[in-house]
Amino acid sequence: MRRLLAGCAVFIVTLASALPHAQETDRAKVFYNMANSLGMLRTVQELDSVMTFEAWGRGTIRDVAANGTIGPEAQVKSLYAQFAYDFPGMRVDIVRASGQRTIEVVSGTHAWNEIDKLGGGLEPGYGSATPAMDQVALRLLRMWMTPFGAVKAARAAGDQATVTIEGGRTVVTFPLVEGKPEQTVYMVVGELKGTPMKVTLDARYRPAQVEVTFRGRKYVNTYSNYGDLNESDLKADIFVPAHIVATVDGQDVLDLTIDKTNTYNPYVIMPVPPAVQKAGAR
């Protein structure tokens, strides 16, 4: 009898742990849980305290041409990404196994590619910038599709967000909206305005999948293996996915392993180089 009871207890505990935990549909609570589960809410005031971060990784990439053609897979020898949600801006520095280096930047309503070095020619000898204004929307989309970006975008959407349960998972759907300048996020969405974003949460309310259909293409990012990826003597209790897979229309275009982060709001700025400002003014 005791064995039977013990067996039942083990079965019940196992079953309970296997069930999805994220069943909350109250919007405010879900917003809170999303931000809190990533470690974004800090101090007793529980303020969104993720403004900037850096990430280092590696993996594979396939280029997507303007006509939608997807190129061959290339090894990413190193990836270094900077995010500054208050600009809002993102700088992604990729070195492929072939040695080819690309530095793609978006800052507010401007986008450019930096050549040779970070800096975009803001100072003589520190790289140069090639305007890439046609990439603004897609790069902003990538930024708002990051876990922190998606949470900030959902919270910015406020009452326009809906929370549902799909397949036992909590799903938050909302349109991307322009926002007011705040301390930790300045929602600039440009052409993305009104584009619906669907965020599927894992059992701990962390973004597991972010989907957006924009200009007729479906972009899906999948996030897993969350952890504090800062170095061992610089832990911050801010959680980032160690594995990121991105698809476009169902085809893998990015498979990244994030090895390291600095989530202590490192010094990251995204000034728009003068040449890019001129291009943006045209």
């Binding site: 101090t43 007793v44 529980e46 208050d86």
Partner: protein, 305 residues
């Protein structure tokens, strides 16, 4: 703004840590740690009514017609904001300590470290790209021997990191700005800075002031380039020049500063900060604790908050 004491560290009005005599070192210091609020939030919690009343008073003037800045200038929060951890006599435990997400000292340190680095883009100095990496290095090594924050080593904070003066003594020829542990002399007799070849390279610089209406405009040059603008690794060069604007309205004093430096893409602004004249007819200032750095060799983490 307020000062608070955590683990033997005195946090300055700017929210930046100032390493103090480590009398309280160790676990006992953690237990004795005072309440902590993010500096920016604390600064907003001012006594608005008292401030309005202070500003409505007549502005005293000297015989030559300029405003008189003489006085002790106090923070504008209510005194209750400075009350540290309270001992609950019924339980023998402290409440209101380590105000992170939880009472866990690790959470407190990490929350503070994350939150103090939340600096809006306009408030971050925009360094030229060749210095971005150094700022990040300084930031993550600010409490190590590799790139120590000079304040952590008990060096003078420099200008404008000192912020608004705690006390001002004014004559017709000069003013004396008094801060805890530091003093500046501002010449307002019409003299200019010494020629650049005579500069010495100092922590607090050479300051001259002139009046623009009721606003004192203080120009400061001749720095040593070792002082930082702020806690997150914001280093400077000897080229730094600082313009402070200080204005008295009634019994309030408002201070703001603008920094130019060859390291920066554009001028960096600090402030404004406003203080009220100490209403106590017989005000006193407590002697500040001496600053002696004894921690550096014992620190085994780059976390700091």
């Amino acid at each position: 703004m307020k000062q608070r004491f955590v683990g033997g560290v005195r946090y300055a009005a700017s929210g930046c840590p100032v390493r103090m005599n480590r009398v309280f070192a160790g676990i006992g210091a953690v237990v004795a740690a005072f309440a902590l609020m993010p500096a920016g939030i604390a600064a907003q919690g001012g006594n608005a009514a008292a401030m309005k009343d202070a500003a409505s008073r007549p502005t005293p003037r000297r015989s030559n017609g300029v405003p008189d800045f003489t006085g002790i200038w106090v923070q504008t929060r209510s005194r209750a904001d400075n009350v540290p951890a309270a001992l609950d006599k019924t339980t023998g435990t402290y409440t209101n300590i380590l105000r992170g997400r939880t009472g866990n000292p690790v959470d407190f340190e990490r929350d503070s470290g994350v939150r103090q680095r939340v600096v809006p883009r306009e408030a971050r100095p925009w360094y030229k790209p060749q210095y971005w990496e150094r700022v990040r290095f300084n930031d993550t090594h600010g409490h190590s021997s590799q790139a120590p924050d000079p304040e952590f080593l008990c060096m003078p904070p420099g200008v404008p990191r000192l912020g608004i003066p705690q006390e001002i003594v004014q004559t017709d020829s000069h003013m004396v700005f008094l801060y805890p542990l530091h003093t500046r002399r501002i010449y307002i007799d019409g003299r200019d800075h010494p020629p650049e070849e005579q500069w010495l390279g100092t922590w607090l610089g050479h300051s001259v002031g002139r009046w623009e209406g009721d606003t004192l405009v203080v120009s400061t040059v001749d720095f040593n380039g070792q002082e930082w603008l702020g806690w997150p690794g914001w280093f400077t060069s000897p080229d730094k020049r600082v313009i402070e604007r200080i204005r008295r309205v009634g019994n309030t004093l408002t201070w703001a500063a603008e920094v130019t430096d060859s390291l920066l893409l554009q001028p960096w602004k600090s402030g404004p900060q406003t203080r009220m004249l100490d209403a106590n007819p017989m005000p006193e200032i407590e002697e500040p604790l001496p600053c002696i750095e004894r921690d550096l060799q014992h620190i085994v983490t780059r976390e700091r908050g």
